[in-house]
Amino acid sequence: MTQNEIASPELAACEVHGMTRQAFILRGALAAGAFYGTASVAPFVSQAMAETGGGDAEILNFALTLEYLEADFYNVKGKSVGLSGEAKKYAKEFGAEEAAHVAALTAAIKQLGGTPVAKPTFVFPATSEKSFLALASVLENTGVGAYNGAAPSLKSKAVLASAGSIVQIEARHAAAIDLLIGKSPTPNEGFDKPLTKEEVLAAAGPLIKK
């Protein structure tokens, strides 16, 4: 996708000149942090982090926020933006899977004695199938990096196994979407890059309204 094919100025802001979207995610969300400013992501951080006592539940709440975001993206935006063919099929399938992740994480957080975060309100700068898929690629690839980055910090082996079972699905989604839009299904070559919480927030934070 080239710069001028993006209908939404917000999404265009996600594209960094001279870089592929994947490179953008890799190198950092950092760039997005600069674009949007840390102030815009601060409310998201506090919402995701404040309600639990830390540890595994806190990490899972972070994941839950991302899964809420992905589920809403496919299940709400995916319906309203007007998709067809493979894009429509993927949105339906992936949306159901993200919703299942939401349910699983919510249950896991409760089991750990934590309080699941409330579902935030999202704003998705996608106005066409093309911009929808471009954003899907960002979200899925960010999801992979987020889980891979957080997993080694999990204390419970059972929670780790669940997170692994979910990240594999995010990776599969990412590859399918990237193939559909003519990008490499392995943007990080042989080793997916783990993302820090800050990097994830820089990428996802701007999509969270409240």
Binding site: A100, A150, P152, A161, G164, Q168, A171, A175, T186, P194
Partner: protein, 233 residues
């Protein structure tokens, strides 16, 4: 979908290094090796080199890596080194498989280029895992040498889809068993790439990119080794 358990025999009797990998206790003593000063700290450097920086990966390295260096010996078939050698064996097979597929000339154009990329990525996994085993004081497993039926583009793509799904399930099956956060980070970085390969091949053979739905199913070592047995030369 070819589930990870497809092809699993009742009583798996893997051969060669694969056999050694599953016969932990029997062969343990033969593979004892002084760990020397290598351990979590130096392995951390490997992970950083192989997977990019990860600010969260060094926290509990000293305690978590302890099992790998207990008693100042490192077995090549148990603990994190055993898991890495198991992964290495699978990556050797995947690398050889893709090399044969590329050599067959069955795929051209975009698909051919993806197949080549995947082969190169599996080879990079082999290199990283070998280095990791060595840094942990273990002896890297030898290349098991595979044999793969290469008949037609469709058959090969189907086989590749099966192999990659198995690989993803194999890594997933070990994740919770890994002691060192550095080794775990490394395994996860590879795991999601295997998943990307599997999904890509799924689109190629017109099968689901998420054959197990929202939650990927792990496969344990004996299931995986039984499944790869037919591909050992």
């Amino acid at each position: 979908m070819p589930s990870p358990t497809n092809g699993a025999e009742e009583a798996p009797q893997p051969a060669g290094i694969v056999e050694r990998l599953v016969r932990d206790d029997v062969d343990r003593k033969r593979f004892l090796k002084m760990a020397g000063s290598t351990g979590a700290a130096s392995f951390g450097a490997f992970v950083l080199a192989a997977c990019g920086s990860s600010s969260s990966s060094s926290k509990s390295a000293s305690t978590a890596a302890a099992p790998a260096t207990t008693g100042t010996t490192t077995s090549s078939t148990t603990g994190d080194v055993g898991i890495l050698n198991y992964a290495l064996t699978l990556e050797y097979l995947e690398t050889e498989f893709y090399a044969k597929v590329v050599a067959s000339g069955l795929f051209n154009g975009k698909v051919g280029s993806l197949i080549k990329d995947f082969g190169a990525q599996e080879a990079s996994h082999v290199a990283a895992l070998k280095a990791a085993v060595t840094k942990l004081g273990g002896t890297p497993a030898a290349n098991p040498n595979g044999k793969f039926p290469i008949k037609s583009a469709t058959q090969v793509a189907e086989l590749a889809y099966t192999v990659e799904n198995l690989g993803a399930a194999a890594y997933l099956g070990q994740a919770a068993k890994i002691q060192s956060p550095e080794v775990l980070a490394s395994a996860l970085a590879i795991h999601s790439v295997e998943a990307r390969h599997a999904a890509t091949l799924g689109t190629l053979v017109k099968k689901s990119v998420t054959p197990q739905g929202a939650f990927a199913t792990p496969a344990d070592m004996s299931t995986v080794l039984a499944a790869v047995k037919p591909f050992l030369a």
